[in-house]
């Protein structure tokens, strides 16, 4: 339940964050479900959805996390529209042609740090200005109600952030004083930031940039996806592209605005 996953290869001791995590694990008890610490980088905790507001209050009052940073939502559903430049075919069109079952589009949900069980996750961050540490607080959003407690009673600034999450993801915040749309017109239907909300501009007209990354004819295909194929490190002056002809095919597949000036 409480395994500290270490991602960094060389373990940098991070006493401040480890000490903070120990305190949080001890004092929050069952409210803290999972955590993730990358030494020297950041700390994530995942709390039970019903105790979200209590945890915020605890962090603010007892741990002096006074600075409210943001609240947002992550939709872990893989995009059903295959707009990723990764996929050679548009899976929305493919589903239309082959039927749902035969399409290669994945619907398996893979979640990030500190795990999770639901499609939507609340993601928020607060700072303690005395120690200079920030902590990410994640929480599952129950799939059936899509409702979590509001933070507005603890951090006044949560108001607008929750309104944004409400209109963009359709998450309800119990106890919010005026949960209205913040950007979109009042009669707008749908929640645009959800993964299953299509980016209409892309469906109407395919992104012209996608032409750049279509697979090149046959021979060099393995080279393109080989991660070891790196830019020539000795060319310290990238304004002049490496003149070797080998890389030219690869360069063609690179999006036009890539790391190297080409």
């Amino acid at each position: 339940m409480t395994d500290t996953t270490e991602v960094a290869e060389e373990t940098v001791p991070d006493e401040a964050r480890e000490a903070l995590l120990e305190v949080l694990v001890a004092e929050l008890g069952d409210q803290l479900i999972e955590h993730h610490l990358i030494p020297g980088v950041d700390l994530w905790i995942r709390v039970a959805p019903e105790s979200l507001a209590d945890v915020a209050e605890y962090l603010r009052e007892r741990q002096r996390f006074r600075f409210f940073d943001f609240i947002s939502v992550i939709d872990w559903l893989p995009s059903p529209f295959g707009r990723s430049l990764d996929s050679a075919v548009d899976s929305a069109l493919e589903i239309e042609a082959n039927g749902e079952a035969e399409s290669a589009a994945t619907t398996e949900i893979v979640r990030g740090y500190a795990g999770g069980e639901t499609r939507f996750q609340i993601l928020s961050r607060v700072y303690n200005l005395t120690t200079g540490l920030g902590v990410h607080i994640k929480s599952d959003v129950p799939d059936d109600t899509l409702t979590v407690p509001s933070w507005t009673g603890v951090y006044a600034g949560a108001n607008w952030h929750e309104r944004e999450a409400f209109e963009m993801f359709g998450i309800n915040f119990a106890g919010h004083p005026g949960l209205q749309k913040i950007y979109l017109p009042g009669d707008f239907e749908g929640h645009p930031m959800r993964k299953d909300f299509p980016l209409l501009a892309r469906l109407v007209k395919p992104w012209p940039g996608i032409v750049d990354v279509e697979p090149m004819p046959a021979k060099d295909e393995p080279t393109a996806t080989n991660p070891d194929d790196v830019a020539d490190p000795s060319s310290s002056d990238p304004s002049s592209p490496a003149p070797d002809a080998v890389s030219s095919d690869v360069a063609d597949e690179t999006p036009s605005d890539s790391g190297d000036a080409s």
Binding site: F67, G157, G259
Partner: protein
């Protein structure tokens, strides 16, 4: 049933009732004043609906979304290299500063660190962006208060900074210069000396503005004690940048959350002001321009030699993971929470922009103020609409 038969009495009662209704409406409704969407004080298209009682604001509600471009959604269908083009347009006055935290977040996920020279160049351009941004603020602040002169000096002197940015990056407003692993190009020859001259002009500008505005009796009368934000309230709204330092909170991400920029290699200080009013916020920004001038000066003297790009794969695929990197932008904390699933594009990008938090305090702050002070307060909070709407 007793009907009122007397015609005169009937008229009297009707008049009484009508009067009462008018009085009642005046008391309950007050007057509603629309500020914007097109108003010079709003830096874009922000509309503020203010309910007034005489000259006093009972309630003010900003209405946003006129400039919402959905960058968080758009980033999900663009490669990492293409995202910088988008984020340039978030806070359009400090464009380069928007690119840096996103690139740093991607670098953190990839485990790449830019070479020392690239970090130095990034920091210099970052601070030049801040100088250009806040220079305009100092001029604009005068306009909001009815002093038209400073803004002409501001535009004149900001041009020196924009020219320097342009001669490195090729773009005055949207440099699109930062790359994963380094920067696009090296500095052109002669640039260091020219930049030093430009910095000197900005120093003169600061002295000029200090005399024109901060020493001005009218300016003081209109900003001192106006829009006071107590530190604790500011923190719970997530105010950052000069807005929170103007309330006496000593918090600067350049110092307190060090990223791979060259701030630890130079000598500088964080300016704060204890008052928390419009004057304090403006004063802090003035000092920050001066501090940035001295920072750029030191950075120019200590540029290390070496490459400007790290070893980066030709096709950038960011490994699975999550990263949040924030930097201290001219407007305050700007951060990107990047979720990668190992693809060519980010899976989700949360853009934490400074102005969104900075403006979220405005309904609280504007309550009970007077209409002319609304403009002062908005000017001193200093927001860019693109940074609110994203």
């Amino acid at each position: 049933m007793t009907a009122i038969s007397d015609r005169r009495q009937l008229a009297y009662v009707a008049a009484q009732a009508a009067d009462a209704r008018v009085n009642l409406e005046l008391e309950a409704e007050g007057m509603t004043l629309n500020i914007g969407p097109q108003h010079p004080a709003t830096h874009g298209t922000l509309r503020i609906v203010a309910r007034l009682d005489g000259e006093q604001v009972i309630e003010a509600e900003p209405i946003m979304g006129y400039m919402h471009r959905g960058y968080e959604k758009l980033t999900e269908v663009r490669t990492y290299a293409q995202v910088t083009t988008l984020v340039n347009r978030i806070d359009w006055l400090g464009s380069f500063c928007n690119e840096v935290p996103f690139i740093l977040a991607a670098e953190q996920l990839m485990g790449i660190e830019a070479p020392a020279r690239a970090q130095h160049i990034r920091t210099i351009l970052f601070e030049l962006g801040r100088i250009g941004h806040l220079t305009l603020f100092l001029g604009d602040l005068g306009v909001q208060l009815g002093a038209v002169t400073p803004v002409f000096y501001a535009f004149r002197d900001r041009e020196h900074i924009l020219n320097q940015i342009e001669s490195v990056t090729g773009g005055r407003f949207h440099p699109n210069f930062d790359r994963i692993g380094g920067v696009k190009d090296d500095l052109p020859s002669g640039w260091i000396a020219e930049t030093k001259q430009s910095i000197d002009k900005i120093r003169d500008f600061c002295d000029l503005i200090e005399g024109l505005l901060f020493g001005n009796e009218i300016f003081e009368a209109r900003t001192r004690g106006i829009g006071v934000i107590p530190a604790d309230v500011g923190l719970s709204y997530g105010l950052s940048g000069a807005n929170i330092r103007g309330s006496g909170v000593d918090w600067d991400l350049r110092r307190d959350a060090p990223t791979a920029l060259a701030y630890d290699k130079i000598d500088w200080k964080v300016w704060t002001h204890p008052d928390g009013d419009a004057y304090a916020r403006s004063w802090v920004r003035l000092q920050e321009v001066r501090e940035s001038c001295s920072m750029v000066d030191q950075l120019l003297d200590t540029i290390p030699a070496g490459p400007i790009m790290a070893k980066v794969p030709r096709i950038i695929k960011v490994p699975e993971g999550e990263a949040y990197v924030a930097t201290e932008n001219p407007l305050g904390e700007m951060g990107y929470y990047v979720v990668s699933k190992g693809g060519l594009e980010p899976f989700r990008v949360k853009i934490r922009s400074a102005s969104f938090n900075n403006m979220s305090i405005s309904p609280w702050l504007l309550k009970g103020t007077y209409v002319p002070d609304v403009i002062t307060i908005l000017a001193s909070l200093y927001f860019i609409l693109g940074d609110i709407d994203r």
